[in-house]
């Protein structure tokens, strides 16, 4: 069965733990670090959620997405979600000669779950570019849920 590509005009949302948030020595948040986009050794793809696919009206899609991303886990008070446009994300990868696919991979309890495939976990520069250029917004999970 062919996998559905997440459309270029849509957005992906990535859960970012506190240790992958870029901050200064006083823990003032500066942005999202490249490490937030590095998949683990045992992961085939980078786990994200397809924002527009969330089963909620437009105003509540991010809230619903965070609910799905954090279901069953203890949410850190300082954990965040980072939002990126699919086209911009892929364009950055292409600029570094990486042809990634962002595909819809539903999982139990999280239908909009998707994955970024063929993104190297070892290309530090592409991960830095994604962190600094593709993220259009990032929010505290608890703020989104409140």
């Amino acid at each position: 069965m062919s996998q559905l590509n997440v459309p270029d005009e849509d957005h992906i949302v990535r859960y970012v733990g506190w240790n992958q948030v870029a901050k200064d020595a006083d823990d003032t948040v500066l942005g999202i670090s490249a490490e937030a986009f590095r998949r683990r050794y045992n992961e085939d793809g980078l786990s994200v959620n397809w924002l527009e696919r969330a089963d909620a009206d437009a105003a509540n899609k991010l809230r619903r997405t965070v609910e799905l991303l954090t279901a069953g886990i203890a949410i850190g008070k300082k954990s965040r979600v980072a939002i990126a446009n699919v086209a911009a994300f892929k364009a950055i990868c292409v600029s570094r000669h990486a042809r990634v696919r962002i595909v819809h991979i539903p999982i139990d309890g999280n239908e909009p779950h998707s994955e970024v495939r063929q993104l190297s976990r070892d290309d530090d520069e592409i991960l830095e570019l994604l962190a600094s250029e593709s993220v259009t917004a990032h929010h505290l999970c608890l703020d989104v849920l409140s």
Binding site: A22, K23, R40, E125
Partner: protein, 204 residues
């Protein structure tokens, strides 16, 4: 057996509370831990903690990592010219990156080897602006500096090995660079990028 953290003053000064009361070591081991302030290889986590039960909870592993980092800092603070304000800041940052409430399932706690490399890096480059800290999922510390739209991240591995990743804007385009380094040559490798804009030091 006596507890290495049994002395309330030591516990207080290291900022170690809670689980530490359950950790104990023999007297010889305790003396050995504190006898040198210039040892390169700090082995508290691997040697003294090795006698602890094999299976530990995440909280216990995070506590061990915090304790190892703080004890190592206390050991070398004179030799590495760590003043009280910086030590307090470091301990707060260690508590922050090893906060059980923020921990992601499957991540590895900070390794002692990574922390040693980080502290030795700080001693060598002596940045006026101290970095923010983050961690990789496999337990390595990241030192992060950001000045305007320029960011420098230095990954600290064991054996004084590093990897730096940086990005900056040039003529409207974001440029990046990354390379392996060691604490001994990182300043030289970064020189072309004028790292003092991140470190806040006077240009050499």
């Amino acid at each position: 057996m006596t507890s290495i953290f049994g002395n309330a003053a030591i516990r207080q000064s290291l900022g170690i509370t809670g689980l530490g009361q359950s950790l104990s070591f023999d007297a010889a081991g305790t003396k050995a831990l504190f006898q040198s302030t210039e040892e390169k290889n700090f082995t508290a986590s691997s040697a003294a903690l090795a006698s602890a039960p094999a299976i530990k909870s995440t909280e216990e592993r995070l506590f061990d990592a915090k304790a190892s980092a703080k004890i190592y800092t206390a050991q070398v603070e004179v030799a590495m010219r760590i003043n009280e304000n910086w030590r307090k800041q470091l301990f707060r940052q260690i508590d922050s990156v090893l906060d059980a409430d923020e921990w992601m399932l499957g991540d590895e706690p900070l390794t002692t080897e990574s922390y040693q490399t980080f502290l030795r890096l700080m001693f060598i480059i002596q940045p006026r602006i101290k970095p923010g800290l983050g961690m990789t999922s496999d337990g390595n510390l990241m030192a992060i500096w950001q000045a305007d739209d320029m960011r420098l991240t230095i990954y600290c591995f064991g054996d004084d090995d590093l990897r730096y990743v940086l990005s900056y804007m040039e003529e409207g385009k974001r440029r990046t660079a990354a390379a392996d380094a060691s604490i001994f040559n990182v300043r030289k490798l970064l020189a072309v990028f004028q790292p003092d804009k991140w470190f806040g030091n006077e240009p050499a």
